[in-house]
Each structure stands twice: as C-alpha cells, then as structure tokens.
C-alpha cells in the first residue's frame, strides 16, 4: 500500500517509524518539542525527544558521544549552513573516530538539515554545502528528491552505523508523491533512474531532479529522450549507474544547485571523465553561478539553475559533433 504524502511529512514518518522500532533512536534540536502538546514528545517522552539550545558544536558533538556509547541520535539542525558553526564535529570528529579507534567504535548518527532554500533567504541560508562533505571518508551524505526517497533514505540513514548527513531540499518540502506505507528503506549508495531515456543523460541532485524531470518532459515533446539519473546518495556515490547511463546515451548534462567549483557535479564530471572516456561526446555542467545567493527574486532566479538552462544545455550537448567511437 502506498499513499500520497508531502516530502516533509515523509521524513517525519520515517523518524516516527524508526523511533517506534528502536528505543535507542533519540531526536533533538533547537526550537522543537517546546510544549507538552508536541506530538513527538507525547509519543516518545522527553528522554528521547529533546529541545536543545543554539549550540551546534555541542548538539552535534553530544550526538557523536551518544552514538559512540549506544544511542542512535538524530540531530535536527534545520539549515545546513548552521553546521558550518560546528564543522569540526561534522568533518573532523564524527567520521574520524571509528577509523582512529581501529574499528572499535562506531558513530551511528544522523545530522538532518534542509538546504538550498531559494525563497529570498539571501546569502547565508540558501546554499548547497554538500560538496564539502561528500569527499570525507567515513561520512555519508544523502540528498533525497522525492517523498518516497525522503522516507526510505531517512530510515536507512537512521539504521546505518556511520554518521550520515541527511540533506533535504527546503524547496521540495510541500511536494507530494506516492510513499509506501509501513517499513520502507532505500539503501544508501544506490542511484535511481527517475526517467529512462536514450539520447542524453541528465544527472541531477535534490531540487534539481524536479527541474530536470520538467526539462525532460519539454524535451520529449521535441522528440529528445532524456534519462534523468538521481544519485540520491552523494557519499557513497553510485558511479556505476551514472557511468552506465552516460555510456548508453553518449552525452551528459550535470545539474547542481551549488556553484560550479563547489558542486557535486564537478566531482561526478571527474568520475565520468575517468570511467567513460571514449564513450561519450559531450558534457556540460549546469550549476549556480559563481556568486553568493542574492536576496531579490530576479537576482536569485538568475543565479540558480532552472528548466530553461537545462533544456538549453541538453540541446547544446546534442548539437556537439560525435567524437566517441
């Protein structure tokens, strides 16, 4: 059985499901569970659902210590940029402790945060910082693009024995999609072909998957068949699925809401270059422009990728002469 659910609600459903399943799962963050009326608090009690002060270093560090000693904390961070206040804990503590201990401890921790809030939040609350984290061995990075993935990947993140940064796109919060009822787990590290196609591969992340699917629909009307691949997990990255698609279509457009040189697209381009060389003719990256995110709407729209830019990029790679054998 499945039902239609909003992306944001699907995440919450996964958290509730996992907390029912495993008493070691706890959930805390700023400005949550503030009154006795809070449904999570009612369900799970104030031992397991807590309100935290504005202290990201301690919130994340405490999550790490609790994870090292048997709990499975989910830390609600609200906005991914707030992690920057505590980046030592995210980058240099959580993913290192297991390795440094020679495998004796594990850190089953979920850091949940929204990202890329392009709704007039300006320079410090609208960014995509996953590139910084996807290259950190020991850390997993998850970016769901649909309601079903939002639920399944959250369940998998909570069950994973490693620190997982779970980044949900704020722009998708109210989007509806079919979500399987009950236990539903999407394995980490497995990409999903969101739309099969033959002429061109579009690899897109988070909110950009929605844009890429809209672009693919427009292109279909012009008899261009675009395959949309959603990595879903940036670390570990499912290079095989991406490379196989590129080998099949021979042309690729990488769509990423992050600025070019701090995009996941740049990393994926490197993998394609190495693993699919000789089997593709053209590659383009459609990323945010190299500016901070501006406040005013026309400025913001100009900087961030959109359907038009994706369609234009697809046409340009298709126009490029074939070089591959």
């Amino acid at each position: 059985m499945a039902r239609e659910m909003m992306y944001g609600d699907a995440i919450a459903a996964a958290i509730v499901g996992e907390m029912q399943r495993d008493p070691n799962v706890i959930f805390y963050g700023q400005n949550m569970a503030m009154t006795e009326r809070d449904p999570m608090l009612k369900k799970f009690g104030k031992e397991r659902v807590r309100i935290a002060p504005i202290s990201e270093t301690a919130e994340i560090g405490i999550g790490i210590g609790a994870a090292m000693t048997g709990l499975r904390p989910i830390v609600e961070l609200w906005m991914s940029e707030f992690m920057l206040v505590a980046f030592d804990q995210v980058i240099n503590e959580a993913p290192r402790l297991r390795y440094m201990s020679g495998g004796q401890v594990s850190v089953p921790l979920v850091l949940k945060a929204g990202f890329g809030f392009c709704a007039g939040w300006a320079g410090q609350h609208s960014n995509c910082i996953y590139h910084t984290m996807m290259g950190i061995p020991g850390l997993k990075v998850v970016v769901p693009s649909t309601s079903a993935d939002a639920k399944g990947l959250m369940a998998a993140a909570i069950r994973d024995d490693n620190p997982v940064v779970y980044l949900h796109s704020y722009m998708l919060t109210l989007d509806k999609g079919e979500v399987p009822d009950g236990e539903y787990v999407v394995p980490l590290g497995v990409a999903d072909i969101k739309n099969p196609g033959t002429d061109v591969t579009i690899v897109a992340i988070g909110w950009m998957v929605k844009k890429a699917l809209a672009a693919a629909e427009r292109l279909a009307a012009e008899n261009i068949s675009a395959e949309v691949v959603d990595p879903r997990t940036l670390a570990p990255l499912d290079v095989t699925t991406i490379v196989n698609s590129v080998k099949k279509t021979g042309r690729v457009v990488l769509v990423d809401q992050a600025p070019r040189h701090s995009s996941a697209a740049a990393v994926i381009a490197g993998e394609i270059a190495e693993h699919a060389i000789g089997s593709f003719d053209a590659l383009r990256m459609v990323t945010a422009l190299d500016t901070p995110i501006p406040y005013s709407e026309p400025l913001e729209n100009y900087v961030v990728p959109n359907e038009d830019k994706i369609v234009e990029a697809v046409k340009s790679v298709l126009a490029q002469k074939a070089v591959a054998a």
């Binding site: 031992e47 090292m68 020679g102 004796q104 020991g138």
Partner: protein, 351 residues
C-alpha cells in the same frame, strides 16, 4: 568498643590501605610509562611519529578522580590520554604498541598516541582537537541518562580546552539536561606553549578556573591536583551528585605538567625528540619548573604513604620495580609487534 565494631574498623582500615596502595601503584605505572615513551625518543629516534603528549605530573589528578569510579562508568579524556587506560586495565603492551604504530596496538596503529581507545573498558576514544571531546563526553552522559544503567561519565580536559566553545556549550547543555557527568578541568598551567595567566579570564582576575561553573549554575571546586586524596574527596562528591541525578560539576585539579606539551614538531627525515618544558625553553623560568618538580605528586604520595606506614620502603620498592618491569615488557612487546600491512589502511573507514 565492641568486638564487632573493632573488626569492621580493622577491615575498613585494611580496605583503605589497599586502596592507597592501589592508587600509588597506578600513579607509578603512569609515570614509568611516560618515562619510557620519553626514552623512546632517544633510544629509538624516529620510531614515534607525529605528536605525543605525556601526562607526567597529572598522576594524582587521574588516579584520584578514577579511584571514585565504578566498574561501568565511562572515561573520556583529551588527547593527552596515556594515563587513563593504564588505570582502566588496558595491557600496557597494547598501549605502547599503539604509540609505536604497531598492529598489536589498542587501535591497530590507526590512532597513535593522541587517539587511544578501549571501549571494552568504557573508554570510547578521544579527540585530538582541543576541547571538542568535551562534547563527546557530554553525549556519553546523555546515553547514560537515557539508558538508566546508573553509569556516570568522567570527562577530562585541559585548561586550554576550557576556552573552547565546545566547553561552554557542553556544560550549558549538561546543566540544562542534568546529565550524569563530572568535568575534570586538569589545569596543568600551560595551554600548549602559553601560560594560562596569559589566556584565561579567571586567571587574569586572580581567581580559580572553577569559577566558570557559576556561569552554568553548577558546583565548581578547585583542588590541589598533586594530592590524589584531595582530588578523590572532591571528585567523589561530584560523582555522587552525578549518580543521584543532580547533574554535572566542574572540578579544577591544579597541578603542573612535568614534561613539555609534546615532542618537538619536526619535518622528516629529522627524527622527533622531546624538548625541555616550556617554562624553561620558552619563558626561561627554570625556578618555576624546579619549584613544581619539588612537588612531584608521585614522590610526595610515596613519602606520605611511608610516613603513614601504609607502605614500607621495601614494599614501595617492590611496587616501583614491578611497574618498571611491566613497562619494560610493554616496550619489548611493542617493539616486537609487526607494523600493519599497508593495505590495512582501507579497513575501518565505514562500519
């Protein structure tokens, strides 16, 4: 006095002397271990890589605090961490082998001196970034609270760490959540190379560092960290408070680090070596160093136990000799242990 009362008093006295002997033994084992590490820099130049931080001078603080510990209580020290697993019972050979980067090290050579861990003995690990481990220890206390197993956490960190945001944020949250944790601020007087009077607001005002506790409305106390029994008394109170659900305390144990912050930072192929203490090497203040050396906690405790007849010279010598032999065996074990195979580097990245 009734016969029964006399018997139980005698038994208590025996237990007390047993514990005092245990405490002295642990202090000597730590001292001998750290001396052996230092010797390695001379006898096997280049064998110890990176940065090693010794705990000589901290023995009374470590042992006094841990003497109040119960079997399943969690211990979370800083990167200056050799002493704690010694007291917890990790075989010294495994600790030394880790410092030497060997496969039989407690972390199979993946952590080294700064990152010892022995979760089987309730020592989950350390952070090498000053102050950050305070948050991890606080998280361990959250586990203890949620699991209701009666555990408490002993969190050790230096005076330098008490200026990190992690310190302030963690103590605030521990106080808000009434977490079962004892924060032991080991004031060894030097934050790496900088004397604490140059970087601590309480010190600048001529006040003890434990005053920081007032910011969190929790008990704070400063104690002579060269006296294990004084440390024991104060920490026991804080441990009781943690155990009974009243939350955290901050104890400043004031002592003096007897070795330099760490070995000299050298660039290969120059071998690493141990410099003189900062008081001498940086500040040219040999007098200060000598004054504190005269208060050496191990020597003072030995003299005290001899005076109180808990130890005789012969029994003290037996303890000293046993510790020396144990450490020498540990060095031999570590030297004989193989280096890890290069491809082992790929293990343990993910669980």
């Amino acid at each position: 006095m009734s016969r029964k009362a006399r018997t139980s008093n005698t038994r208590k006295a025996k237990t007390d002397s047993d514990q005092l002997r245990w405490m002295y033994t642990q202090m000597v084992r730590i001292r001998e271990f750290e001396e052996a590490v230092k010797c390695t820099f001379i006898e096997h130049a280049g064998l110890i890589r990176g940065h090693s931080h010794l705990g000589d001078g901290a023995e009374a603080s470590i042992v006094g605090a841990l003497s109040t510990r119960r079997e399943t209580d969690i211990v979370m020290p800083s990167y200056r961490c050799h002493g704690y697993p010694i007291v917890l019972g990790t075989p010294l050979g495994k600790i030394m082998a880790e410092v030497f980067g060997r496969r039989d090290g407690m972390c199979h050579g993946f952590g080294g001196s700064m990152h010892l861990a022995d979760p089987s003995r309730y020592f989950p690990g350390t952070s090498g970034i000053i102050g950050q481990g305070i948050a991890h220890a606080t998280g361990a206390a959250l586990s203890a609270q949620v699991k209701r197993g009666g555990q408490i956490v002993y969190c050790f960190f230096g005076d330098g760490a008490s200026k990190q945001g992690a310190f302030f944020e963690s103590l605030n949250m521990a106080a808000v959540w009434k977490l079962p944790i004892v924060y032991v601020l080991e004031n060894n007087q030097y934050q790496a190379y900088t004397h604490f009077s140059l970087e601590d607001a309480n010190a600048v005002a001529g006040e003890p560092l434990s005053k920081k506790a007032r910011a969190f409305s929790i008990p704070g106390a400063t104690v002579d960290g060269t006296d294990p029994l004084a440390v024991q008394r104060v920490v026991a109170k804080a441990a009781h408070r943690a155990r009974t659900g009243d939350g955290p305390s901050l104890i400043e144990t004031k002592f003096y680090r007897l070795s330099a912050h760490g070995n000299v930072i050298t660039v290969p192929p120059l071998p690493t070596q141990f410099p003189e203490h900062e008081a001498v090497a940086v500040y040219g203040n040999r007098k200060e160093f000598e004054r504190w050396k005269a208060k050496d906690p191990v020597k003072r405790f030995r003299a005290r136990l001899l005076k109180n007849r808990v130890l005789t010279e012969a029994s003290a010598q037996r303890i000293d000799a046993a510790a020396r032999a144990e450490v020498q065996d540990a060095v031999q074990f570590a030297l004989a242990s193989p280096l890890p195979a290069p491809e082992e580097a790929l293990e343990y990245v993910y669980a």
